[in-house]
């Protein structure tokens, strides 16, 4: 949109064009800044930890001696955690979204619930940890087990799941629902067999992104008292467990005592980052493959 291409003869115009060109470079550099820092972070973590990532590391038990330490327990812990988080957030998340988008009239109750979900999304994750500690770990007496951690993280990511599922439902073309009604289908039949199937890929994309948030989350689990000690592999949702971020946390803290722990923390970070990138990548793939063409 540079409309002043004709020979800039006054020095004032030359200055303005120069300012514009330098601004473009500076602003572009600002846009790249974060990405460059992420590059440095990745390079740093790779050089620190890549040589420590081995099959023994992936399948080993936790150990106080760095050479023998492994993360299998944390990986299993993540899977058990997801066994709680996935069903809970999918049921409540999609259910809430269907209610808000398709059943509730545009009234006070809807506005109230919607505002509440918006505010909940901005609550610091550590406050959810305190909720989980007080309700699930202490009041209900679960202790620091998978179920308590899973329910806490479910509450944490629910606002994200609900809002993204709402957007997915909203993006379903109206005609599809109208056609279903015209054929005599009831409301729930229409939702169940027309609207939800069409919206499902988009809903899943949002859900996967939210799940990757849950997998990387540390603060609420610290508050719940999740250990990173020599504990047996978890075998169910009522077992004590640990996850990769907790492992990274304790290894980083103890790096002052045992220098090699820093390498273990970096190695565990590599595993965590790769899994998250794969998860997010699959979500984006899903989004691009099944984008609704209205």
């Amino acid at each position: 949109m540079l409309h002043t291409r004709q020979s800039p003869n006054s020095s004032r115009i030359r200055f303005r064009l120069l300012a514009d060109r330098s601004a473009k470079i500076v602003f572009g550099a600002a846009a790249l800044f974060g990405i460059v820092i992420m590059g440095i972070l990745l390079v740093r973590i790779t050089t620190e930890g890549l040589s420590w990532v081995s099959l023994d590391f992936l399948t080993g038990r936790f150990s106080t001696s760095p050479e023998r330490a492994g993360i299998m327990g944390a990986v299993l812990g993540t899977f058990w955690l997801l066994a709680v988080v996935v069903p809970v957030t999918m049921l409540i998340g999609i259910g809430s979204a269907v209610y808000l988008e398709l059943y509730s009239k545009n009234g006070k109750i809807r506005t109230f619930i919607q505002t509440n979900i918006g505010n909940l999304a901005g609550v610091p994750s550590i406050v959810f940890g305190i909720l989980g500690l007080t309700v699930f770990v202490r009041a209900l007496g679960f202790g620091s087990v998978v179920l308590a951690g899973g329910l806490t993280l479910s509450l944490l990511i629910l606002p994200i799941v609900i809002v993204s599922a709402q957007e997915a439902l909203r993006s379903v073309p109206h005609q599809l629902g109208d056609a279903s009604y015209a054929l005599g289908a009831s409301k729930w039949q229409t939702i169940q067999s027309v609207i939800l199937p069409v919206a499902l890929p988009t809903i899943l994309t949002g859900a996967i992104l939210a799940l990757s948030r849950a997998i990387g989350e540390t603060a609420p689990l610290v508050v719940l008292g999740i250990p990173a000690l020599l504990i047996p592999f978890p075998g169910g949702i009522l077992d004590r467990f640990t996850v990769l971020p907790m492992q990274i946390y304790y290894w980083t803290l103890d790096a002052a005592l045992v220098a090699d722990y820093a390498h273990l923390a970096a190695a565990a970070s590599i595993v965590l980052l790769i899994s998250l990138f794969l998860l997010n990548g699959s979500a984006i793939y899903l989004r691009n493959k099944y984008t609704i063409k209205a």
Partner: protein
């Protein structure tokens, strides 16, 4: 072609069966149609219960805390010694740590995020945008524990080469890294605000002979200002509640100071310290957890409401 109607119309009892069967199906379907919305409403109401749960828990335990520690002492005390023989529970050192780290973060993320947003919205070609935006999204997806590790094992040692007086745990390094963490948030929200400025305003400015820079600074940014401010407020709120970066890299000294080279503790890091220290339930230290969490919750909630209000104001313009 025989339909089920023709097949069963051989005898009148068959028709009656069919009608009864269909009526059963219909009443079952009716029950579903009535109960499904009620069930879904309960699911949607769970989020309200979550908020209520947080509020009730924080309030009751905070009131319990204020029975042993006077409210005024808590909010004006500059000394925090929860585990000493003569314990003192002033929250100001934590408030200071939180404000200083969030302040550093917004000083980094504010200008950089805003400039990145201007670049994305005003200068970048469609192709550049389609590469930069997902890359920024990836940046936002890095778990904070990894940022904490990065701050502690890389940024702090690096800074100590330039600032020899910097302590091994300090508030500067986590503040800077937190700034990097919230750049994507500010850039993307500000960009949204700028893109919703009508194209006609840019064209009008260009027609008057403005360069892109002049259009951006004198037309687009002022028009999108409330959205930009809202993104800053949300960014600060996010930094206030950030936990792992500060818990790892800023140490646990409860210093009441402005010196950013020293170790300071934020409200979130205090909660981490107390909960991982296994404070006995019912002790004053245990209750202090809730008082600090209540302060944090109230602050971030107010800031988020403020951001919403500012952003709504901006929507009314167009």
């Amino acid at each position: 072609m025989t339909s089920p109607f023709q097949a069963s119309s051989n005898s009148s009892s068959g028709i009656r069966d069919l009608i009864r069967h269909n009526q059963d199906k219909k009443s079952f379907r009716k029950t579903i149609e009535v109960w499904i919305p009620r069930f879904l409403f309960l699911l949607a109401f769970l989020s309200v219960l979550t908020t209520l749960g947080i509020l009730i828990i924080l309030l009751t335990e905070t009131i319990e805390f204020f029975k042993t520690v006077p409210v005024l002492d808590f909010f004006t005390g500059t000394v925090l010694k929860p585990l000493s023989q003569t314990p003192a529970f002033g929250i100001l050192p934590l408030v200071m740590g939180t404000l200083v780290s969030s302040g550093i973060a917004i000083l980094v993320a504010g200008p950089i995020g805003l400039m990145a947003a201007i670049y994305l919205s005003e200068y970048a070609s469609r192709r550049v945008r389609s590469v930069l935006k997902p890359a920024l999204e990836l940046l936002a997806g890095v778990p904070t524990i990894v940022y904490g590790f990065f701050a502690f094992t890389f940024v702090t040692p690096l800074l100590r080469q330039w600032i020899p007086s910097l302590e091994a745990t300090n508030i500067l390094s986590p503040g800077l890294v937190m700034g990097v963490m919230i750049i994507p948030m500010i850039a993307s929200l500000s960009e949204d605000a700028m893109r919703s400025v009508p194209q006609a305003m840019r064209e009008g400015s260009a027609a008057l002979g403005s360069t892109k820079l002049e259009t951006a600074l004198k037309v687009v940014v002022p028009a999108a200002l409330s959205g930009i401010i809202a993104s800053f407020v949300l960014g600060i709120s996010r930094a206030l509640g950030e936990t792992m970066i500060v818990a790892i890299a800023s140490g646990s000294s409860k210093n009441f100071t402005f010196d950013i080279t020293e170790s300071m503790q934020t409200m979130t890091a205090y909660i981490v310290e107390v909960t991982s220290g296994d404070a006995a339930a019912g002790s004053t230290v245990y209750y202090s957890l809730y008082a600090v969490a209540m302060t944090l919750f109230a602050t971030t909630l107010l800031m988020n409401l403020l951001a919403g209000k500012i952003a709504r104001k901006f929507r009314e313009v167009y």
